[in-house]
């Protein structure tokens, strides 16, 4: 019985396979060789940062012959400059410069989360956030690591306070963590001289509320506005943010009272 069924099923499968193989010989469509070359060059991570579903689709979009339909060559963020040059070599098109290099920064610096409720349920930020998160701060990091799981490059790890830490070198700026964060804490920023200065807080509550809820949140004291060069920081709604980080400044010298100005840099 077993042998009979194996034989019969095998025979049917082999027959179907042979027919398909013959049909393939007759009906095969040659892929555009340019697309294949491009796919070889692209990282093959299918991260979606370029706006296409897969590296293959992006390659197909770049190989369009009509220039107005062709995708831009510098959309691959994980690849960087090197790949853009290789792509432009293959296509014989002038490259439009380096892909815009950005890195993810985590705009929350909470060390001790004050609870407003006890949360029991699936341990991921998205579910938690649906019912308010059980945390006193409505803006801060929930600490379940959705972003770390979303990252394809292991660039995000959780530190001892369950706060995501971005590894500068590994981060490709693809933005998967940005989409995964229900509280929109993670933003993409362009580094200057291999470092990004950012304010590790998103809370726009009044200074008093922020201070009672969290000892590490920005209270909008404007000390950064005064001590840093003109136009570098701006404070709105009791929350500081970095407007322009070109100015020379020693972050330590600002002495931010809640210590929420952070720097993301290489090998940090």
């Amino acid at each position: 019985m077993i042998i009979k069924s194996i034989l019969i099923f095998g025979a049917i499968a082999i027959f179907a396979g042979i027919i398909l193989a013959l049909a393939y010989l007759k009906l095969k469509v040659k892929d555009n060789p340019v697309v294949e070359k491009l796919v070889d060059v692209l990282p093959g991570l299918n991260c979606g940062a370029c706006g296409y579903v897969s590296c293959h689709e992006y390659a197909a979009a770049m190989s369009e012959t009509m220039s107005e339909e062709r995708a831009e060559l510098n959309l691959c963020r994980p690849g960087g400059e090197n790949i853009v040059n290789q792509i432009s070599d293959i296509l014989g098109v002038e490259s439009e410069g380096d892909s815009k290099k950005v890195k993810a920064v985590v705009r929350c610096g909470v060390k001790d989360r004050k609870k407003s409720a006890i949360y029991e349920g699936p341990v991921d930020c998205t579910s938690m956030n649906l019912i308010g998160g059980g945390m006193a701060c409505r803006y801060g990091c929930l600490g379940c690591g959705d972003c770390a799981r979303a990252c394809l490059f292991d660039a995000i790890t959780l530190n001892e306070n369950n706060l995501p830490v971005v590894n500068y070198g590994r981060c490709t700026g693809c933005g998967l963590c940005v989409d995964s964060c229900p509280r929109d804490i993670i933003t993409l920023k362009e580094p200057d001289n291999d470092e990004i200065i950012y304010v590790a807080c998103m809370s726009v509550q009044s200074a008093k509320d922020t201070k009672t809820i969290c000892g590490d949140g920005c209270i909008g004291c404007k000390i950064c506005e005064r001590k840093a060069p003109e136009g570098m920081f701006s404070v709105k709604e009791d929350l500081a943010s970095v407007k322009n980080q070109a100015g020379e400044v020693d972050i330590e010298s600002i002495k931010c009272p809640p210590d929420c100005i952070d720097v993301l840099k290489r090998n940090s």
């Binding site: 019969i8 099923f9 049917i12 398909l20 469509v29």
Partner: protein, 195 residues
Amino acid sequence: MSLAAIFLSAVLVNNFVLYYFLGICPFLGVSSKIDSALGIGMATTFVMTMTVFVTWPLYYYIISPETGFNLPFLEYVVFILVIASLVQFVEMFIRKFFSHLYKALGIYLPLITTNCAILGMALFMVLREYSYIESMVFGFSAGVGFTMVITIMAGIREDMKYAPIPKIFKGAPVTLITAGLLALAFMGFSGILSP
């Protein structure tokens, strides 16, 4: 049962999508444009008819307990094998000769393999003990029914783009509601012909 009755039964009265709720995936996935809806409908019809063409002899000469080698447990796996191979074939064919349709259908073309309407159709064929000719008509009309419903759905969805739908219903919810109302409309046929 006459061939005409089988045809009308499979197209209108016991429609695969709206009566048995089989093949919902492409029904919701590819019904945003009439062109691609017609394309997937025709591809499904072709695969259904070809499936019957191949599976009927396979069932009655190999699998069947009475006339074959008595291997009824192979039924599902053989049917799936046949359907998967046929879909591969159809995919190659469409890619070669209708490359625009190939692009429009995208992932839904290989997904015909897992379209339960096709496997369901093959199983109904065995269950209802149709003859070879009856099965062919049944397979073809099941495909026609699928094509008709998915095209109607695509037409509704194309017009729905201009309707003032409340924000929370936009997208999938209103599509599911429409599918339900369409099924409700088709309930009017029920009982006219037994399956």
